[in-house]
């Protein structure tokens, strides 16, 4: 069956704002979604998208507290961090836990049966490995994208901590703390952070600026002052091209920077009509770029002119002969909006590419709707042919 142009929708029945692809899982399109309700127990949904069947199956895990962020381990598919919020009558605390999903066998059994229910109704328990609760304002946990499981980074309201796992990964201790609180108290907290896949560097977003931090020396590597007119909300490094980072924020813009020269941005996209909350480079074809916004839209952009693929297409232009003609027919990939997905009815706070199939991605809106889409065929053929 040709499912071109169709999308697959999964409802959580809870509100949700965080989503991640299970990065270590390269056989199946798996995503993790954490729900966010105050009145009921929360859940972690492990969503599995089967492309051949064009079907979503899911496994649901119990997670008492509301999940504000979720980070899957890049090396082991059963490990992930969640950042969650607890509260009592006067205050709320955000902490993080490293979890293990123990029941991967259960799922595979389900598969074999073939008569599995579309959604498992039982809520499976998660195994908590350890908890971090230092300073109660933890926002986000970053794994090392180089799949090195000795370190991780946590981002707090006004600081950044570098942690070291012990040998069994059963606990961790802070090795360094970088404090950002020395600045004006009234400034809003750190908003986001991302780990550079090319070198030990973390970029953080705060207020209107984006800053780079060398993890070895804890010194600042770059600082883009006023990267956005209002808050910076999301960052992502280009996975294939060193020194390129994308940033997005409350001014509805997405900007691309060359970190070696940040006096001007490489490119600016302004297709959203409200704050941009999440952005993601495609891990394989970095000319494909996703963004999601509280205008309820998910945009798939082609940024081929500044991608690692740009050179390849330049060369093609010089070729002549039949091959060129063929490409001429298909059209070369060009910059611009490939498609805007408007299946969401509420703000879309998260978007993620599948770790398995480079053409599959998932977006999650606040009303708990996770939608799985694929890159349109024409665009796909433009890129691979």
């Amino acid at each position: 069956m040709d499912n071109e142009g169709r999308s697959c929708v999964y409802g959580l029945r809870h509100q949700a704002r965080c989503l991640t692809a299970v990065i270590a899982e390269t056989e199946q399109n798996k995503f993790l979604v954490g729900s966010q309700t105050l009145k009921r127990d929360n859940e972690i949904h492990l969503i599995n998208f089967n492309e051949d069947e064009f079907e979503i199956t899911s496994t649901i895990y119990q997670h008492l507290e509301e999940v504000w962020d979720i980070a899957a381990c890049p090396a082991k598919s059963d490990l992930f961090f969640t950042c969650y919020k607890t509260f009592d009558s006067i205050s709320s605390r955000t902490k993080a836990k490293l979890w293990r999903m123990n029941n991967s066998d259960v799922i595979s059994e389900d598969f074999e049966k073939g008569s599995r229910p579309p959604r498992s109704t039982s809520h499976l328990p998660l195994e908590c490995i350890f908890e971090i609760k230092e300073d109660d304002t933890i926002k986000k946990v970053l794994w090392d994208p180089k799949k090195d499981l000795t370190k991780f980074v946590s981002i707090h309201d006004s600081s950044l901590r570098i942690w070291e796992f012990d040998e069994q990964m059963t606990s961790a201790k802070t090795s360094h703390t970088v404090d950002f609180s020395s600045m004006n108290e009234s400034l809003p907290p750190l908003t986001t952070g991302v780990w550079n896949p090319h070198q030990p560097e973390v970029a953080i977003g705060k207020e209107c600026y984006v800053q780079g931090l060398d993890l070895r020396s804890q010194s600042q590597t770059f600082n883009i002052n006023g990267a956005h007119s209002v808050l910076v909300h999301a960052l992502d490094y280009n996975p294939n091209k060193p020194y390129q980072i994308a940033s997005a924020g409350d001014d509805c813009k997405i900007r691309f920077w060359d970190l070696r020269n940040t006096t001007n941005c490489l490119k600016q996209i302004s297709d959203h009509t409200h704050w941009v909350w999440a952005i993601a480079y495609n891990r394989f074809h970095d000319q494909l770029f996703l963004s999601s916004s509280s205008d309820c839209q998910v945009n798939l952009q082609s940024i081929v002119s500044i991608s690692s693929g740009a050179f390849q297409y330049d060369e093609r232009e010089n070729d002549d002969g039949s091959e060129y003609e063929y490409h001429d027919q298909l059209g070369k990939p060009t910059d611009g909006l490939v498609r805007a997905y408007d299946q969401h009815e509420d703000s879309v706070y998260a978007v993620a590419w599948s770790a398995c199939d480079p053409w599959v991605f998932c977006s999650l809106s606040y009303d708990g709707r996770a939608v799985i889409n694929r890159v349109p065929k024409e665009e796909k053929y433009k890129i691979i042919l």
């Binding site: 309700t37 105050l38 809003p188 006023g226 009509t273 509280s294 509420d346």
Partner: protein, 785 residues
């Protein structure tokens, strides 16, 4: 028949008589003719006899004359050395060379005869001396260009090696001309004002301040002429020997025909190898190119526009250009060698473009300066009352628009008109005028785009911030710019173009003026000539477009600024401090909302001031003969107080009426909290675009700002975890906002939808069991009781 014969009887008689007479005459004639022929043959016999007798003597005389001629020539040759010596002594080298050129071939031919060879060698000796002398003359420091040329002519006649000569010639002229140029430039400022009176130019220049013209004339006389002469002769000598030169080159003929040196030039030429010729040509062109460029630099200097473009007198420049044109025409060889005429044309066309650039560039610069100054003042100046500030803003808009219109239609138009009007040969040709106007038109178009771009740039955000960030202009600047661009689009552009069209395009061909009717923003008709109509439409479109975009930018800035206020409120932390000694339910509207509403009111005032309300716009539609801003601002002044008050009354009444319609809940959003309803509602409500197209006019602008504010509020609440008290606080605030925003909004559905969204978000983010307040209590608090 009888009567016929009878009538003509007389005639028959006379005819018979005549015939008889003729018969007698002919008989004697025959004998006379015989006698005549006999006599003629006799004469011819005698003549041939005489001729035979004289024949041999005549031959002798002819021989003798030939010998005499030869002897004369030989005598000339024998005398040659003495003559040459004499010439050398008298320093009449030209004469010497001419003698030698006459005879050198002959001598060469008869070299075998000892007599001739000795003469030849003697002559050579002397000629060597002569050539040495010539060279001396040539290289002497005081030698002028024409002297050098003369010397070169002589040397060429003496068959010196041409390549070397070419080089020497070039080198010498190079120094001479460069020196001449420098000297001329030095002298230029010192030329007496009456220089031109002496010159043969037929221009009547009476004013003494037109120094530039004098200087150019002087320069052309002194330098350009020399240069042209040199080019002409060099070209003739070395580069392109024409055919007839070869023919006339044989000794005895050409010198005889050309007794003067000047004529000689035409007939002297050399033959160089092709390769050498190319080499020589290259060097030659290099030098000529360089020196011409220097010349043109000076000309450019003369054609500088005055610092204040309004002082500019196009007449002078046009005369200068005219002179240049003439110079180009008179320097035919210069033109043929390095396309001098084209370069002059280039200068002229650069000037034409330049004048447009300067005129309009000036306008743009001043306009932006005005804005910068205005922005600075907005930041620093303290106004005693908001009324005063508004007045100041309005005057600024009005003044700026009037200034621009006046500048363009009066000053710029005057100068351009003068350019076209000045009756000089350069613009004699209709095509030339047309070309000039085309250039001006292009520049004018460029000018509008440039203005629009600079405005856009001035208000657009700079990301990232530069190292030394300047304060961004206050948001009102964008609002003003937007308003102004709208005025441009609605009327000013059309007006300005109309007057351009009237004054520049009508005076000429009437049939060219396909009056195209262009309708202004207020429906009035302008007839604009065909050439301009396209531009007008385009620019009007762009102006409106950019006005829209700048307006959106304004809404964005203001909306974001206002939204910043809500960032920190409703956090648990902020509530804790308030909570301890305060009763468990809110007693008043959050302070920040009062601030926000005040800011909104200010923004509304700004907007009303510049965009007016609906009614005023209608007024404008009716009378729009003059600048719209004039009317608008004056009406705005008068109506300000009324129009602001009116909506208040209106909103109050409508509010109460709605209240009565929904007796149970004045704020219905917090009453129903099931997820389902809000989802269903959402399905049916349109998607609201937050930072999107802003409708021009007060309601659209206010709606834009309010949408940004409310959406930010929703998003902020979603990030928080609320206590019951904060939830109730939001209830109160929401009602307060609804009361206050009512009057700004035309379509209350959007407001309701968004507040409902807020309510459901707040409900879900409330950690405790939310206990909504009674509506009556909310109304009391929100109403400020």
């Amino acid at each position: 028949m009888k009567t016929l014969v009878y009538e003509n009887y007389n005639k028959f008689i006379s005819a018979t008589d005549t015939i008889r007479k003729m018969k007698s005459n002919v008989e004697s004639m025959e004998s006379e003719m015989d006698q005549l022929s006999k006599s003629i043959s006799n004469i011819s016999n005698v003549t041939s006899l005489v001729n035979d007798a004289l024949g041999p003597k005549r031959e002798k005389i002819r021989q003798l004359t030939g010998v005499h001629d030869l002897l004369k020539k030989i005598q000339f040759i024998f005398e040659l050395p003495t003559r040459l010596k004499l010439c050398l002594d008298q320093e009449s080298y030209a004469q010497a060379v001419r003698y030698y050129a006459k005879t050198s071939r002959l001598l060469e031919h008869y070299r075998s005869l000892s007599v001739f060879s000795s003469i030849e060698s003697e002559c050579k000796e002397i000629i060597d001396k002569v050539s040495k002398k010539i060279r001396e003359n040539m290289t002497s420091e005081n030698a002028t260009g024409s002297e050098i040329t003369d010397c070169i002519v002589l040397l060429i006649s003496l068959k010196e090696p041409p390549q070397q000569l070419a080089k020497e010639y070039l080198d010498l002229q190079e120094t001479v001309l460069s020196k001449l140029l420098v000297a001329t430039i030095d002298e230029m400022p010192k030329i007496p004002a009456d220089y031109l009176l002496k010159s043969s130019e037929d221009y009547q220049l009476t004013t003494s301040d037109e120094r530039a013209i004098i200087e150019l004339t002087y320069l052309n006389e002194k330098f350009l002429k020399e240069l042209n002469k040199f080019v002409e002769s060099f070209n003739g000598f070395f580069l392109q020997p024409p055919k007839e030169c070869r023919d006339t080159k044989s000794p005895g003929k050409s010198p005889a025909k050309s007794p003067k040196n000047n004529d000689l030039i035409r007939y002297v030429s050399t033959t160089l190898d092709v390769e050498v010729k190319e080499l020589v040509r290259k060097e030659f062109l290099e030098f000529i190119g360089a020196i011409t460029s220097e010349y043109l630099t000076i000309v450019d200097g003369l054609l500088e526009f005055p610092n204040n473009i309004l002082d500019f007198k196009p007449e002078t420049h046009i005369k200068l250009l005219n002179k240049l044109n003439f110079a180009a025409l008179s320097c035919a060889s210069l033109s043929s060698v390095i396309k001098f005429d084209e370069r002059i044309k280039e200068v002229i066309s650069t000037w034409e473009t330049g004048i447009g650039k300067r005129l309009f560039g000036n306008a743009e610069k001043e306009l932006i300066e005005k804005f910068v100054e205005f922005s600075e003042k907005q930041k620093t100046k303290v106004f005693s009352s908001s009324q005063q500030r508004f007045k100041y803003v309005q005057t600024f808009v009005l003044d700026t628009e009037t200034w621009l219109t006046t500048y363009l239609t009066k000053d710029c138009l005057r100068i351009i008109k003068e350019c076209v009007k000045t009756e000089v040969p350069m613009f004699e040709n209709k095509d030339d005028v047309e070309k000039f106007l085309k250039k001006i038109q292009a520049e004018f178009r460029e000018f509008w785009y440039s203005i629009i771009n600079s405005m856009m740039k001035y208000v657009s955000p700079i990301n990232p911030y530069p190292i030394n960030p300047q304060d961004p202009p206050p948001p009102i600047t964008s609002l003003i710019m937007s308003r102004m661009l709208l005025d441009f689009g609605e009327i000013i552009v059309t007006q300005v173009y109309t007057s351009f069209s009237d004054r520049l395009y009508t005076s000429r061909d009437n049939r060219n003026r396909f009056a195209i009717d262009v309708y202004g923003g207020y429906g009035e008709r302008h007839s604009i000539s065909k050439e301009l109509a396209q531009d007008v439409r385009e620019i009007v479109g762009v102006c409106k477009d950019i006005a829209q975009r700048i307006l959106e930018r304004y809404v964005e800035i203001v909306g974001n600024r206002i939204s910043m206020n809500i960032r920190g409120i409703y956090t648990m932390k902020s509530s804790i401090t308030n909570l301890t000694d305060v009763p468990s339910r809110p007693t008043s509207v959050s302070k920040i909302w009062n601030v926000i509403i005040t800011e909104l009111t200010l923004i509304e005032k700004e907007v009303v001031m510049l965009y007016g309300t609906e009614e005023e716009n209608n007024l404008d539609d009716q009378d729009s003969n003059s600048l719209p801003s004039t009317d608008q601002n004056s009406t705005a002044n008068q109506d300000n107080s009324n129009t602001i008050r009116a909506p208040y009354a209106h909103s109050n009444s409508s509010y109460s009426s709605i209240n009565s319609n929904r007796p149970k809940s004045s704020n219905p959003f917090f009453a129903s909290f099931t997820h389902l309803t809000s989802h269903i509602d959402k399905l049916f409500s349109d998607r609201i675009e937050i930072f999107g197209i802003v409708e021009i006019g007060k309601p659209g602008i206010m709606m834009g700002v309010i949408k940004i504010l409310l959406k930010a509020w929703i998003e902020t609440v979603r990030m928080q975890t609320l206590t019951n008290k904060i939830f109730q606080q939001i209830q109160v605030d929401s009602e307060f906002v609804r009361l206050k925003l009512w009057k700004y909004i035309e379509d209350e559905r959007i407001l309701n939808t968004m507040l409902q969204e807020l309510a459901s978000s707040a409900f879900r983010r409330c950690a405790e069991d939310p206990l909504p307040l009674e509506n009556t209590i909310i109304e009391q608090i929100a109403g400020g009781l």
